[in-house]
């Protein structure tokens, strides 16, 4: 019984019982034979007849096998298995295709996940394309703002918008006063603000109109993050009283988790903006408070129409402006996307274009490789077809191979994409929104999977659809003429595209080196900057602030190795600076400047050692001296640029400014400092005026000062000393320390980001194109082995043959170069905004890039060409 069961169990576990079928057939045959014997036939003859009657046993087996419900899965596995065997045999081909696919898909996916938010994904508001940011812009503020008075008037008189809403100009620091005070970001907006964006609170409700007016009931909304984090998602958060900056407020709502303020700022607490028409006509000299205004276009109204309709209102408002401000103030209406993404969109488009070009090269490469392989396999396919493989089966086989390849390539591509995204996030400059938060998401993974499948299917089919004719069975493998042309054009296109990519990247690289190598006019190495922010509620008088900083200065001076300790309200070359108008400067005995002309001047309030700490040379006159700090005279030092503009051809030293200019100070010029880069790394520098920060409490406005320490000791060594010195004066004061070269370096983050990325893609494109070129030349050479053999037998030298092959390749390269260069010059105009002191027609770039490419291409041609000439004529000819 058991011995009967065991084999049955085995049948259950293994595939459908082939031996069982055998036994059945055997039984069948026995029966057939025994009936024939019973009918009187000779046993041997009976057996013969029965077997003939039965027909082929093997087809029956196969046919039975085919009845299995999931039979086709088996054949797919077979195909996959076969595909893997084929890949193993042709490892070089497989690896090239995989690398190409992975690079193409990986780069595309990664870049797509970065630019998606900037370029494509709709902003997270209701009907976001109809929302605009509107207001005034002028030279000191490039983001739209509106003064309260005009906002009130616009609200009454405007026609193009169905809704308007204002928020405060930005977030401000505020303190959540509880048992454990914490500093947060606060913002305020009107009750009409959230509805304009089509946003409703995650919990609770929006502000009511009666709450959104001065002295209304004190209410607040909190961010989702604050609710989940600080309040642990307290279900009773609504109606809870919180204390912001000492004022109690009732929580009425929680903002949605993914809510994004139109200024892209992060705010924890929002309060009603409480705009009042009557008050706005009084405060701030009758202008009212500045604010950010957003509006929703009426259906059918375009941006241009809205602009035209707002222009009369704006012109009316201009009458209120002082004459000098009229020239430099303009009306601006921008789509919300432009407002949010700022300058990031051109960069994003260029990046996207680059990566699409790389993908194009990759696809061309895969196509070329697949077609070459298909041509090489014609005999194999013909043989399979001859021994009975159906056309459909062959196509399915080819498709399976292509899909297996693209699937593997897609997987590897996703891994590359993940790695690239991590690199992007690491490099992410602050100027480009959302890069720092980029990650691969499902949508993008699906996108890349689709791309990879499409690649596979198209190129797999291209190779398979060619019917292997009987002719292919002949030893003379024929390469059809139009396919050769197609392959050549693919390679030419690749070269052209990579020229475009390389030129773009080279231009950026040139620009980046210029940025890095430019003279900043100061030393940045070995200098430590210390940002000390005094809590304003304890340091509430200028005297206290001054005492703190002077104590800190003298204690830092005592540190070993200290060469200079300077104090200033800002540090070049970038970041916040206190600007004022050139036309505000009034020099004694000179006519005032024309208002609205001359741009801005950087003002910096510094101690004497500022120049020593940053090693800024005083080119004329003298530096501030320590005794000046206690004197009555107000000294200023001008930058050379400012002096040249104010006093052309005159002696600037000893000149005086009128008391009402230089922010309320009459002052005397004592020296000229050399120019320092002060408007970021890429913008032209502004003229600069240094005022002495004297040891008088009136000079110590504000509570955020920067201390600059120039020390003979390594920066890392003095950091802990500085920290303990600050702590010994007041241990609750927060400080931030950073070596100056590090923060300057960060200013170059964005060009570095652009250059690295585009350079990487250009190189990827180059590698792929060269691989394609190499592959094609190698393939064509093997195809022509016999021809080469014949030529050599007839007396051609190796040199002749090499020239023959190289000429073919060089023609493709030259055509590609010409087409690519032409396009590159035309397309590089798009890069103009990214370039610093480099012309878009930079000759060096357009000479170096084609040279580089020709060189690499030459190598890619010569290697297979040389290999092709190592042909023994006798051997090839005999192989016929």
């Amino acid at each position: 019984m058991i011995s009967e069961l065991l084999p049955r169990l085995r049948f259950l576990i293994f595939r459908k019982k082939r031996s069982e079928l055998d036994e059945e057939i055997e039984f069948h045959l026995e029966q057939a034979i025994s009936t024939r014997i019973a009918a009187g036939m000779d046993p041997a003859e009976a057996r013969r007849q029965a077997l003939i009657e039965f027909g082929g046993i093997e087809p029956t087996r196969e046919e039975c096998e085919r009845q299995r419900p999931a039979w086709w899965i088996g054949t797919v596995i077979q195909d996959v298995h076969y595909a893997f065997r084929g890949f193993g045999r042709n490892l070089l081909f497989t690896i090239s295709v995989l690398i190409t696919l992975a690079l193409g898909i990986g780069a595309t996916t990664a870049v797509f996940s970065v630019v998606d938010r900037i370029l494509f994904r709709p902003l997270p508001y209701a009907d976001p394309t109809r929302i605009v940011s509107l207001g005034f812009v002028h030279s000191l503020e490039r983001q739209e703002f509106v003064m309260g008075r005009f906002y009130v008037e616009w609200g009454k008189d405007q026609t193009p918008f169905s809704a308007l809403a204002a928020q405060s100009t930005g977030v401000h620091n505020c303190d959540l006063v509880e048992n454990d005070p914490m500093q947060l970001s606060c913002i305020s907006f009107q009750a009409s603000f959230l509805p304009l964006f089509g946003i409703s609170p995650a919990r609770g409700r929006n502000f009511l109109p009666e709450e959104d007016r001065p002295n209304g009931p004190p209410v607040a909304m909190i961010s989702y993050g604050l609710w989940k984090g600080h309040y642990n998602g307290d279900p009773h958060i609504l109606d809870r009283m919180i204390n912001v900056d000492g004022n109690p407020a009732r929580v009425v709502g929680v903002l949605p988790r993914d809510f994004q303020f139109p200024t892209l700022e992060a705010a924890d607490i929002a309060t009603p903006f409480a705009l009042d028409a009557a008050i706005q006509q009084k405060v701030n000299g009758g202008f009212g408070d500045p604010e950010r205004v957003f509006a929703r276009l009426r259906p059918g109204v375009s941006l241009e129409q809205a602009y035209a309709q707002m222009q009369p209102l704006f012109n009316g408002d201009l009458k209120w402006f002082p004459p000098f401000a009229k020239n430099e103030t303009h009306l601006s209406i921008r789509t919300l996307r432009d407002r949010e993404m700022q300058e990031a969109r051109p960069v994003a488009w260029i990046l996207f274009g680059f990566v699409l070009a790389v993908l194009l090269i990759a696809c061309a490469n895969v196509a070329g490789l697949m077609m070459a392989r298909g041509a090489g396999r014609q005999r194999e396919l013909a043989v399979r077809s001859a021994i009975g493989a159906s056309r459909g089966r062959l196509i399915r086989q080819a498709l399976t191979e292509a899909l297996v390849l693209s699937f593997a390539g897609g997987l590897a591509g996703l891994a590359i994409a993940q790695a690239l995204v991590m690199v992007f996030v690491r490099l992410a400059p602050t100027g480009i929104p959302f890069v720092g938060k980029a990650h691969l998401d499902l949508r993008i993974a699906v996108f890349s999977a689709l791309v990879s499948c499409l690649c596979g299917v198209i190129f797999g089919l291209a190779a398979a659809l060619e019917k292997p004719g009987l002719a292919a069975l002949n030893a003379r493998a024929s390469m059809s003429r139009n396919h050769a042309f197609l392959r050549r054009s693919l390679v030419t296109t690749q070269i052209a595209i990579s020229i475009i990519l390389l030129s773009g990247a080279a231009l950026l690289l040139r620009s980046f080196t210029k940025i890095e190598e430019q003279n900043l006019g100061m030393q940045t190495g070995g200098v430590l900057t210390v940002k000390v922010a005094l809590p304003w509620w304890r340091y509430n008088t200028n005297q206290k602030v001054m005492d703190f900083y002077l104590r800190l200065e003298s204690s830092l001076r005592r540190l070993p190795g200290t060469r200079a300790v300077g104090m200033t309200d800002s540090i070049p070359p970038g970041g916040w600076e206190s600007d004022f108008r050139y036309s505000d400067l009034a020099v004694q005995g000179k006519p005032r400047g024309i208002p609205g002309i001359g741009g801005t001047v950087v003002g910096r309030s510094v101690t004497p050692d500022y120049f020593r700490a940053l090693n800024i040379p005083i080119v004329r006159g003298r530096n501030f001296a320590d005794q000046d700090r206690t004197g009555d005279e107000k000294e200023v030092i001008l930058s050379r640029l400012l002096a040249e503009r104010l006093f052309p051809g005159e002696e600037p030293i000893g000149k005086r400014f009128l008391p009402d200019s230089v922010r309320g100070r009459g002052a005397i010029v004592v020296g000229l400092a050399d120019n320092v880069k002060n408007s970021g790394l890429t913008e032209p520098s502004d003229p600069e005026m240094y005022t002495l920060r004297r040891s008088v409490s009136g000079d110590w406005d504000g509570n955020h000062l920067m201390v600059i320490v120039d020390s003979a000791m390594p920066v890392a060594a003095i950091e802990p000393w500085v920290r303990s010195e600050v702590a010994s004066i007041d241990r609750t004061v927060p400080i931030e320390m950073e070596p100056l070269n590090q923060s300057v370096n960060r200013l170059a983050d964005r060009p570095r980001f652009e250059t690295t990325l585009l350079g990487f893609f250009a190189l990827t494109g180059l590698v792929l194109a060269v691989v394609g070129l190499y592959g094609l030349i190698a393939f064509m050479t093997t195809q022509r082995t016999r021809e080469i053999g014949v030529r050599m037998a007839l007396g051609a030298t190796r040199g002749n043959i090499q020239r023959l092959i190289a000429k073919d390749g060089l023609r493709m390269v030259l055509v590609g170069l010409a087409v690519g260069l032409g396009t590159a010059v035309a397309v590089s105009r798009m890069l103009k905004t990214l370039l610093f002191q480099v012309s878009i027609y930079d000759p060096l770039t357009y000479i170096a890039v084609p040279l580089l490419l020709s060189l690499v291409a030459l190598v890619a041609i010569l290697i297979p060409a040389r290999a092709g000439t190592r042909v023994e004529p006798a051997v090839t000819l005999r192989a016929e």
Partner: protein, 114 residues
Amino acid sequence: MPQSTDLLQGTLDLLILQTLALEPMHGWGAAQRIQQLSKDVLQIGQGSLYPALYRLEYKGWIRSEWQITENNRRAKYYRLTQTGKKQLATQLAAWDRLSLAIASVLGRATEASS
């Protein structure tokens, strides 16, 4: 030997089901029975008999088990399942409709039905 007739597509399944409805049988037996009943007109080639049996078994209309034949030989017997019986009824009904229809077209229907 009489010329064997090509079976209509799908008819083989019906014949096998009908044959097995009478009693469980092995493949050889079923083939013989069909041949006998059709007076040697229908000869079932093994090339189609066994695939058909496997197909029906995969569909769950018949079930197989090993039994000992009368002359003490192990053989695989097929029997109709409940689903198989229902299927047979449906297919018979369909067959009746079809044959009647074909007969009408060919003008060989009985006078009563015209």
